[in-house]
Amino acid sequence: MSLWRYEARRAGWPACLAAPASLLATLALAAGSAGFGAPPPSVHGVLLSGVEALVPLAAAMAAVTVVSVDRCRELQLALPARYPGTLARRLGIVAGSGAALAVLLTAVLRLTGSWTGPRSALASVLVWASPLLGLTGLALLVAVLGRSVVLATTTVAVVWLCEQLFAPVLAATAWSRPFFLFLTSRAGVADGWGTNRAVLAACGVLFIATALLLLRRPERLLTEEEA
């Protein structure tokens, strides 16, 4: 347990606070919508968007931080413990805190009748888990490949923003639909939803596996200054 507490401290408070901040932003937006007279279905849509879009964004940005901002990397590489294992524990803490909060919010929304996602409890998990896996995997891969916080965070932000901007086209086109991150909140649980969740999760696993392969030589993360 003390090892996990240590890794949480090494991951840094900004990375650990990203998911709670995203949920707070979601609740604030929903409260703002309700306060300005938006009908309940719109407010429920905002809450669903928060779970599906903001939590994965926060987890992905936090993952970039965990990978890119380690001031003791040289020291870590000199230890007998394998560095990919250390990174995996830190990423697990970040993704785990996001997942726990998403489960909690989903449960509250289901209990209060504000949930507009799939009815099954297992499918509800896939609303946030698949985009979280896909986007965090992408963030991890770009951070390891590019060794640059700017490049990795810009890539994540742009993918997220472009999928929001071109949502109608991406959801309607056959080839892009399986890769669309926000299908539940933008198009509902319609045809191809299961395929979309499976493809996103598979992409995430593929990105993470590739990043782990690259991390077999962890010294590639060493750099003089953030580029």
């Binding site: 932003a25 919508s33 940005m61 071109f166 086209v169």
Partner: protein, 263 residues
């Protein structure tokens, strides 16, 4: 004071302009939005369209994504001084903290403006090939000055100062979310700043150049007093408000930097 400000500005400019990630992110984002613009984008404007409309449309198009990269690049500029241990050294210089912050801000804005302006000039050159109107280059500069630059000045001020309070990673998460919520999310869907005079995407100046509503400028919504009809006056007011708002975080930058250096 003036020579100190200019010296800090120059060294910050030189450091930033050599940053690979600035160029890679600008070129990547510009290429992406050019390809993904769809049939309503400036590439598909009919022949004979006024040069101001063409370049105003290009400036707005680039303004949708380029500031994301600029914000990410600038998010660690002041935090970095503390991280690599030169903040105490800078505090020992015969220059006031205000001059240091102002110089860093001006240098950062100038350095990020260069790739933005170049991208717009490349777009003007591309349009010149099949439109043959030399005025496109003049309007490229004008569109840059009124659409992209005020937004960049706004983003740079917040990207420099906010990470001192909430850390760079948290700022980057909130900034990506804000950019969509405050600039491109339709005001009829959620209460948002989209379509107000305070949108750094340059909706009002672009609407003025194009001669019609570019995105959401002036559409009914939250904070109706900030949603006048688009036009020359509204565009000017939007630019002035964005620059005035940019001064707000900068006013806190000196004390925040000094507090971090002394702690």
């Amino acid at each position: 004071m003036r020579s100190c400000l200019s010296a800090v500005c120059r060294y910050e400019f030189r450091m930033q302009i050599r940053k690979r990630s600035l160029w890679i992110s600008t070129i990547g984002l510009a290429a992406l939005i050019t390809v993904a613009q769809g049939d309503r984008g400036p590439r598909h404007l009919p022949a004979g369209t006024d040069a101001a409309v063409v370049m105003g449309s290009w400036a707005l198009l680039f303004s949708m994504l380029l500031p994301i990269g600029f914000g990410m690049v600038l998010a660690d500029r002041l935090v970095r001084d503390h991280r690599i241990g030169i903040a105490s050294l800078l505090a020992g210089l015969p220059a006031r903290t205000g001059a240091l912050v102002a110089g860093k801000y001006a240098g950062s804005v100038a350095a990020t403006a260069v790739p933005g302006l170049l991208v717009l000039c490349v777009a003007a050159a591309g349009e010149f090939v099949h439109r043959g109107d030399p005025a496109l280059f003049g309007w490229a500069f004008a569109a840059f000055a009124v659409v992209l630059l005020p937004g960049l000045a706004f983003v740079a001020a917040f990207a420099l100062v906010c990470p001192l309070v909430i850390s760079a990673p948290l700022f980057r998460v909130l900034f990506a979310g804000y950019w969509f919520w405050g600039n491109m999310l339709g005001p009829d869907y959620l209460p948002s700043l989209t379509g107000t005079l305070l949108t750094p995407i340059g909706d009002y100046p672009a609407s003025w150049l194009i001669g019609e509503r570019a995105l959401y400028a002036g559409e009914p919504g939250w904070l109706s007093f900030l949603r006048p009809e688009p036009g020359g006056g509204a565009a000017l007011l939007s630019v002035a408000l964005l620059i005035a708002l940019a001064a707000l975080p900068l006013a806190f930058a000196g004390p925040l930097t000094a507090r971090r250096t002394s702690s």
